[in-house]
Subunit: 168 residues, 2 copies
DNA sequence: ATCGTTGCAAACGTTTTGCATAAGG
DNA sequence: CCTTATGCAAAACGTTTGCAACGAT
């Protein structure tokens, strides 16, 4: 059975689960599939939201409880997930933010400076334009990062409503 | 006389020098124009390259010498330059990178993962596409950050040449 | 005289490391 | 059994802060 991911951007059919994919990655490099790695991959792929290391650690069992994973191991493992192509990492406000990569379509983000939400969007035109620009400059594209900052619809709606209230 | 900046992207005519602009900014807020600020603005606008705090500090006189500026003051002042609209700041590999903003046209960057150079480019089409996408999503754009990663022309040339040499 | 600015040292928040112990293959 | 992985504590990293002394207006 093939796995798929739910999201606002739709699904991408992939032939292996993240777990299977990671096992393959580990085996190909002679690395080991430990309890911690198995547990973390399960947690990380349980939901689709963007997250940083602290958010992940907060949702993990505390020290002394079953399945607790130490902070250094969380960091080490997140780096491995990136290395294995399961996650993508980017910087936002000086900290690393992770998102699903494996089995998930290419996309970019709006970043709302009011509510600090990341909103995904996808544009083929953008990719084409990117490649056209790169071609002009003889630059070999491997990928890109685009974040459009501003105010999301929800937040500008709230502002408008508050303005109306103020008049009453 | 009006000032202008040289660059691959051309010039933008501005009515004040960065120094004058900063003085105005300071005065409007009741802040003070100190020797350190005057010296730093001169250093920062002497060349057009991107730089981070350490690179700036390295090109400054060492402790004990004339015009030395302490590390905290450099950081504080860079933040003020950003606040004043003279510089733009962005994150690259976990550190803050600064570039001229005042008197300099909007642009984006290629980032070469071989030589770690940042190469500027400018595209009006990109801005239009950005705004069109944002409009669709009812997102109010304040700005954006785009970095296209890959390999620059110089580096792929070198690779090609090395391949040819290897055959000899 | 006032109040913003500086330099120092020390703190900060995030991420990484060295090392001894544990555990996967 | 061999080697990789883990947890701990401590370090590293870039950046910020508290505070007393300083200096601009």
């Amino acid at each position: 059975m093939s796995t798929s991911e739910e999201s606002s951007l739709g699904k991408v059919e992939v032939s292996m689960s993240p777990q299977e994919r990671f096992e393959e990655y580990l085996q190909s490099r002679g690395l080991r599939n430990t309890d911690q790695r198995r547990f973390l991959i399960e947690q990380v792929f349980k939901h689709h939201e963007h997250f940083d290391a602290d958010q992940l650690i907060d949702q993990l069992p505390r020290k002394g409880h079953e399945n607790h994973v130490s902070r250094p191991t969380v960091y080490r493992t997140l780096n491995e997930f990136v290395e294995a192509g399961l996650l993508r990492k980017f910087e936002l406000n000086g900290r690393s933010v992770y998102e699903h990569d494996y089995g998930y379509p290419q996309h970019d983000h709006f970043y709302c400076t009011k509510c600090h939400k990341l909103i995904e969007f996808q544009s083929d035109e953008l990719l084409q334009l990117r490649d056209a620009i790169a071609r002009e400059h003889r630059f070999r594209v491997r990928g890109h990062r685009l974040i459009i900052q501003g105010v999301c619809d929800d937040c500008s709606r709230q502002k408008r409503e508050r303005r109306v209230q103020d008049r009453v």
